[in-house]
């Protein structure tokens, strides 16, 4: 870990302005991801701006009948909120499938969206990784590499990492929108769908945020009802990242929405694939995973995603 200075921000606009002004500054919220990465010198901020005191820790109702979740609302509190449990159960289910109780007590809504990939080569600073060290190459794509956990779609020749969040998959199924404040004090609303970027040639650019821009909230539109489930598949029963996870919202008429985790650089969903839902899992996945480019080691994720959705649809 490199030396760094630290300050507590007083308001979102001030925090954003400071972050843009101090070269190498970063926000810190729960710290559950950032501090780990700093210890390994994968992240090397020289200045930390603590956003915990910004009063962004409430869940309030919006005029549109939805909910506005402050960026500092802890994963535990969000999952337990009565309104979320009643009207957006897919989000609660996704949240409690993530990390551990202790981590969720600390982890925040904003921090969760911005957690970084779990690609094992990203974690070893001795190895080439375009995401960590742009232009150094992608160790995961070389012959003999270990790629079982990595992405099958939305990836590029520069990077095949996944976004590891469960919460974001639930939010994607709910059409969530990320609210931000830019360094010059403007507010922006970014649909979650556009929030995480695909790697292309520049896997180090992971989100639509501009330098210094701070997340203030995530809003959920009015409840869509239906039966909402989340199935996370992994090698052990708990406390592991998803091999594949499926968020499903199913209406009584058989229509609905499907979002996938563990397969792509962002929560993976498409309107075309949703439209296939009445035809069943095969049809949905044929669309949703069309053009997938798995490695030999992770090709099973396609079968797994299809079968997982099929099992969820078979459940009544």
């Amino acid at each position: 870990m490199r030396q760094f200075s630290y300050e507590r921000a007083a308001d979102p606009a001030g925090a954003a302005a400071r972050a843009a002004e101090v070269e190498g500054a970063k926000f810190i919220a729960g710290g559950t991801n950032l501090l780990d990465l700093m210890k390994l010198e994968i992240e090397t901020p020289v200045h930390l701006i603590d956003v915990n005191g910004l009063g962004l820790d409430e869940i309030t109702e919006t005029d549109e009948g939805g909910l506005r979740i402050g960026a500092l609302v802890r994963n535990t509190d969000l999952a337990a909120d009565e309104r979320i449990r009643r009207d957006y159960p897919v989000l609660t289910r996704a949240l409690v499938a993530g990390a551990s109780g202790q981590l969720r007590n600390k982890a925040t809504t904003g921090g969760n969206l911005l957690q970084r990939t779990r690609c094992p080569y990203f974690y070893d600073t001795a190895q080439p990784c375009n995401k960590r060290a742009p232009g150094s190459g992608c160790a995961a794509l070389s012959e003999g590499a270990f790629s079982r956990q990595l992405g099958v779609i939305g990836t590029s020749d520069a990077c095949i990492a996944t976004h590891p969040s469960d919460m974001a998959v639930g939010m994607r199924a709910l059409d969530a929108v990320v609210e931000t404040v830019t360094p010059n004090g403007m507010t922006r609303s970014i649909p979650l769908e556009e929030f995480h970027l695909l790697p292309g040639e520049t896997p180090e650019q992971e989100t639509a945020l501009m330098p210094g821009e701070i997340i203030t909230a995530v809003t959920l539109p009015a409840p869509v009802g239906g039966v909402q489930t989340y199935h996370k598949v992994r090698d052990r029963a708990s406390y592991a990242f998803a091999l594949v996870s499926v968020a499903l919202i199913r209406q009584p008429d058989g229509t609905g929405r499907v979002a996938l985790g563990g397969v792509a650089p962002r929560p993976w969903r498409s309107a075309e694939a949703d439209a296939e839902l009445p035809k069943g899992a095969e049809a949905v996945m044929a669309r949703l995973l069309e053009g997938a480019r798995p490695t030999e080691e992770n090709a099973f994720k396609i079968t797994l995603a299809t079968r997982t959705l099929a099992a969820m649809l078979a459940e009544e």
Binding site: R118, Y123, E143, R148, V233, D235, S238, E297, L304, T308
Partner: protein, 733 residues
């Protein structure tokens, strides 16, 4: 004291304390955070500073240059010791395969190449990242599959050959020929390797976390070219080892060199991301098993041929070990290949050999039973042997494997299961049942102890034996309490200090059997002194009970004997050749598993597990049960998830922490039942005891694998049984 013939009746046959379910004597210290683990021993040496390792980022080659100037200027840095500074050092021991430090040669990824010593941990870590190393990288070999293809047909140097395997196999009515794969495993113990080192007047003390105190004291002296008398090692509490701490490791060497350089005590802990590649692991294996049997189920031919990887000079994973003796059969062939590869050092991990070997053999037995149309319990029972099948002159000292199978089957309700694979369903779950046999040697090693009878009649036992979470403190207290006729609370147990008599240490599941025998020997020496004091010539003529000695004529308290100063006695138990020369001393178990496989996702959820164990006298059913259920958890890990995948291009294990190397969590483990057969093995030790610490792991993974087959009808021969290996063969959702 010599153990030269089977034990006759002795005081343990009427025991009051040994064999009773005593709670751990060190439990309160541990649950209140008071047990002093190596890295937290702030009080043992003043002015401690911190060393942080720098490790190699190539798998094979040479260092051509190192630049430490920038790191030296970093805040708080006191000094840096590099591998080039110290030059090549002697290998620590014949059991280490890779040098731990010293010289320009790189043998494996994350080999230690420098230690940065600074005032604080954070300063040392930050400065360590500033050390630059240039390498001349050379090609290594990292691919076990290709090595296997080359060596597969080479039978020129078998471990053993009995009868004529080939002819018998060809003539057999039913045959099986299958290959199995087990991956590399990490010990993944909770406490990382850690050492505090301090030099005083040319003498070195290390407070460390090590299973084998004397081995490692010798190894440290050898490495540093010192007289062993000038090295003291202290390791009273160990947060898990599983074999990772059997031998000297880099933490101790770096701490010692760092402390010598800066002239202050230095502590070094291996950071978790370095443990997978800096330290040792269980090697991956590929195993081919052929079994031929008559239609009545009797095995007539059995061959086990395996390969594992090792650095030059190491011994890999001896996966064929159990197959030499576990089951009957007149014609046998055992071949064990070592592929020299440049991965980190493969070395012992809990039940080395048998753990990986039974993962394969016990699937093969299941497959064979199915081919024969026999119940897998019955098939194993039919092939029981009471003698060493390679040398029928050597009988098993005490073997009740069939009883394990039968009692286990009865308790588990084995007969009530549905035997047709893939045919039992509970909602979305395919239900399966599996059984496997377990076999692990029951060795004993010479073990010494010193006993002190102190003021007030208290007893203190001192031995360099270790407690790696196993319960050594407790069973030694029980042994001394039994032999000296006092309560367990009257006994204080001191362990892990090389200043104490040399013990067997903790490894190979010999610790409990050997160290209790050693403590017994020391107690008998003390009893002899006591008899002498009381003018009784025959020490066996006295009886000790309730803190008093009875000579038949008079009764005196132990307290009164120590009034004029403590009585001290020391002895060591040596095991004669008759034990393993004339007998096979082993432990046995049968494992039963019920599980569900999710029909859609292939996820496995265990529903219940049962082990029936035969391991001689159970010294303490609480600590023994803990050992067995812990082993079963590890077996579930091996079956379902543990996999140190190899990057075959870079030659290392990319798993860098306990998120990348998954071990079971609570939700993976169902109700576990353990039963111990009421057996005694008089050939093993005076206490008629054997080990259980490794037995609990043996066979478990295969029982899970067999249950997965029974559930799904898909036979997976490659561990771990992750869904990617069978998902496409599951029935439609």
């Amino acid at each position: 004291m010599q153990f030269n013939q089977p034990a006759g009746d002795n005081l343990f046959d009427e025991s009051r304390v040994v064999g009773m379910p005593a709670q751990r004597v060190d439990g309160p210290l541990k649950v209140t955070g008071q047990a002093p683990y190596a890295y937290e021993r702030h009080d043992v040496a003043e002015g401690q500073v911190v060393g942080y390792p720098v490790v190699s980022t190539i798998a094979r080659g040479r260092i051509t240059g190192m630049r430490t100037e920038v790191a030296r200027q970093a805040p708080g840095v006191l000094d840096i010791v590099t591998t080039l500074d110290v030059g090549e050092m002697p290998m620590p021991s014949g059991m280490n395969a890779a040098p731990l430090f010293g010289g320009a040669e790189i043998w494996h990824y994350h080999q230690a190449v420098a230690v940065v010593v600074a005032e604080s941990f954070e300063q040392a870590r930050a400065a360590a990242a500033l050390v630059e190393v240039d390498y001349d990288q050379t090609e290594g070999s990292y691919d076990l599959e290709s090595a296997w293809q080359e060596m597969r047909e080479d039978r020129s140097d078998p471990v053993s050959r009995v009868g004529d395997f080939e002819s018998a196999y060809d003539a057999a009515e039913v045959t099986l020929d299958a290959e199995y794969r087990t991956p590399s495993h990490s010990h993944a113990m909770m406490e990382p390797h850690a050492t505090i080192a301090d030099w005083q007047d040319g003498k070195l003390t290390v407070w460390t976390s090590n299973q084998m105190v004397e081995w490692s004291r010798q190894a440290l002296a050898t490495t540093l070219e010192m007289a062993p008398e000038d090295v003291r090692l202290d390791s009273p509490y160990i947060g898990g080892g599983f074999g990772a701490k059997l031998f000297l490791r880099a933490d101790a060497v770096l701490a010692a060199l760092g402390a010598r350089k800066v002239g202050r005590p230095v502590k070094v802990m291996l950071p978790r991301p370095m443990i997978m590649n800096n330290t040792t692991h269980r090697a991956s294996t590929i195993q081919r098993i052929r079994i031929g049997a008559q239609s009545d189920g009797r095995i007539t031919a059995i061959a086990h041929e395996a390969i594992s990887h090792t650095l030059p000079g190491g011994s890999g994973e001896n996966a064929v070990a159990q197959t030499r003796r576990f089951y009957a059969g007149e014609n046998r062939l055992i071949v064990n290949h070592l592929a020299e590869m440049h991965l980190p050092e493969a070395n012992a991990m809990r039940a080395p050999g048998e753990a990986a070997g039974l993962m394969a053999l016990e699937i093969a037995m299941d497959e064979m039973a199915e081919k024969l149309g026999m119940d897998p319990v019955e098939f194993r029972a039919v092939n029981d042997t009471q003698v060493d099948p390679e040398d029928p002159e050597r009988a098993y000292s005490d073997r009740h494997f069939v009883e394990c199978l039968r009692q286990g089957a009865e308790a588990f309700g084995w007969d009530a299961r549905n035997t047709a694979p893939g045919a039992t369903r509970d909602g979305e779950w395919l239900i399966g049942y599996g059984v496997a046999g377990a076999y692990r040697d029951g060795p004993a090693m010479q073990s010494g102890a010193r006993v002190r009878l102190q003021e007030g009649g208290r007893l203190v036992v001192e031995t360099d034996m270790t407690d790696i979470g196993t319960g050594s403190y407790t069973i030694l207290a029980q042994t001394v309490a039994e032999t000296m006729g006092v309560g367990i609370d009257e006994v204080e147990v001191r362990l892990g200090d090389s200043a104490y008599p040399v013990s067997a240490g903790s490894g190979g599941q010999w610790g409990a059997a050997s160290s209790t025998a050693g403590a017994y020997a020391a107690c008998l020496a003390l009893r002899e002194q006591i008899a002498g004091r009381l003018g009784v010539n025959d020490p066996e003529a006295i009886t000790l009970a309730d803190g008093a000695v009875n000579t038949g004529e008079k009764q005196v308290t132990l307290a009164s004997l120590a009034e004029d100063g403590e009585l001290v006695a020391e002895d060591s138990m040596e095991f004669g050749d008759f034990r393993d020369g004339e007998h096979v001393v082993s432990t046995f178990a049968a494992h039963f598993v019920e599980l569900g496989v999710h029909v859609g996702t292939g996820e496995i959820r265990l529903r219940r597990m049962l082990a029936a164990c035969d391991a001689g006298r159970i010294l303490n059913p609480i600590t023994a049960r803990s050992q067995v259920i812990g082993g079963m958890v590890m077996g579930v890990g091996a079956a379902m998830m543990e996999d140190m995948a190899i990057d075959t291009a870079r030659g290392y294990f990319p798993a860098h922490d306990l998120a990348g190397y998954e071990v079971p969590v609570h939700m993976d483990i169902p109700a576990q039942e353990v039963t111990f057969l009421d057996t005694l093995d008089p050939v093993s030790t005076p206490l008629k005891a054997k080990g259980v610490g490794e037995l609990g792991l043996c066979g478990v993974a295969a029982a899970v694998a067999n249950a997965v087959y029974n559930a799904t009808g898909v036979r997976v021969r490659s561990y771990p049984m992750t869904m990617d290996k069978y998902i496409d063969q599951l029935p439609a959702v």
